[in-house]
């Protein structure tokens, strides 16, 4: 009796879908990370000086 995993074309298609989705999500995380870093370091989220002193 063989214990080799049965492969089917369907599995390949589902694998392509899962891998594609995984890579897309990973890329999205990297993009958000990069965008956040750039926004913070470029001063886009800096609180105006007057507001800091006033609080």
């Amino acid at each position: 009796m063989s214990f080799d995993k049965v492969t089917h074309e369907l599995h390949q298609r589902r694998k392509s879908r899962n891998v594609g989705l995984g890579l897309t999500l990973a890329a999205f995380v990297v993009i958000i990370l990069g965008l956040t870093y750039v926004k913070i370091t470029s001063g886009a989220f800096e609180v105006p000086r007057g507001e800091v002193q006033g609080s």
């Binding site: 492969t7 298609r13 879908r17 891998v19 594609g20 965008l35």
Partner: protein
């Protein structure tokens, strides 16, 4: 559950691959969106951080792709009839219409919100309007109701450079609207040439293309008139802030070729076209792709050379 336990009832016959969902986004149209939006962004007089510029173009492209998926969801019935579109994911049965709707809506929301966050709210709103225009105004309303579908619907494809410009500057100006007008005027002759040689497709699907409603002679006349107007607009753009000597040379050559093609199409009749299997019309269609690419390439070249004191007229 072992693999052997799969039955026909648990397995959908045509399970989609990742590429099928990607195909829903109309990658070829998306490439045009990316290029024209990039030119709009780089031609703007405000420098953009490369990461923010990259994100802006990415989310404009995703927004364009999302509207493509929504278009395929709505048009699945006519896509099944047309030779050119029956291999698309929904008519071929690889993806269900509901999946395309879900993907299109989700990506639309994601693209608009992310563009607003990455660039500015005005750019996000402009992208939202573009998706609305393409899906509701063009796909759902005009495409099946008026032979002017291509003319008015062409506006949807003309928005990307405007969005790119707004993403960079956060404001409006006349220059991005010149780029808009260039694509807007280019779209009708481009699609009418396609309609001339893919003639049975639109007839079979009942889409009121000009070839179906007003006849093929009228379509040839329309191609010539629109090409003439496009040439005037394209040449006038050479003397604006986004034009310059490089653009002018490119535009003169391309418009001369394009006008020549339009005149040849106008002078032909159906017998001539059928004799050579629409060779002139097909050549005109291929030239139209090059026409738009090189015009925007020239605008890009003018803007990239400006820091070296070479681009533009100054």
């Amino acid at each position: 559950m072992s693999d052997a336990s799969f039955t026909a009832s648990t397995v959908r016959k045509d399970d989609a691959e990742f590429g099928d969902y990607f195909a829903l986004l109309k990658p070829r149209v998306m490439s045009l969106v990316v290029f024209t939006a990039l030119v709009g962004l780089l031609a703007a007089p405000v420098p953009v951080h490369p990461m923010i510029g990259f994100c802006a173009i990415l989310f404009i492209a995703i927004g364009g792709g999302a509207s493509g998926a929504l278009n395929m969801w709505w048009d699945a019935d006519i896509d099944r009839v047309m030779k050119r579109t029956k291999g698309r994911p929904i008519p071929s049965g690889r993806v269900e219409a509901g999946e395309a709707l879900g993907l299109g809506l989700a990506l639309s929301g994601l693209a608009v919100i992310m563009l607003a966050l990455a660039a500015n709210v005005m750019a996000g709103l402009m992208l939202a309007f573009t998706i609305f225009f393409y899906v509701v105004i063009y796909t759902m309303w005009l495409k099946r109701s008026t032979p002017q579908n291509i003319v008015i619907g062409g506006a949807a494809g003309a928005f990307p450079p405007v969005i790119g410009w707004i993403a960079a500057t956060g404001s409006m100006a006349i220059e991005p609207w010149l780029m808009f007008a260039l694509i807007f005027m280019w779209t009708p002759p481009h699609f009418w040439a396609l309609a001339l040689f893919m003639r049975n497709d639109y007839d079979d699907a009942g889409v009121p293309m000009l070839t179906v409603t007003h006849g093929r002679r009228a379509t040839r006349v329309h191609i010539l008139v629109y090409t003439g107007l496009l040439a005037l607009l394209a040449l006038a753009t050479a003397f604006s802030a986004i034009g310059g000597p490089i653009y002018l040379v490119v535009s003169v050559v391309l418009n001369a070729l394009f006008l020549r093609g339009a005149i040849r199409i106008w002078r032909r009749n159906e017998a001539d076209s059928e004799a050579d299997n629409f060779a002139i019309e097909r050549r005109f269609f291929r030239l139209s792709l090059l026409y738009l690419f090189l015009h925007f390439g020239a605008i890009l070249a003018e803007s990239l050379l400006k820091p070296f004191g070479l681009g533009g007229w100054a």
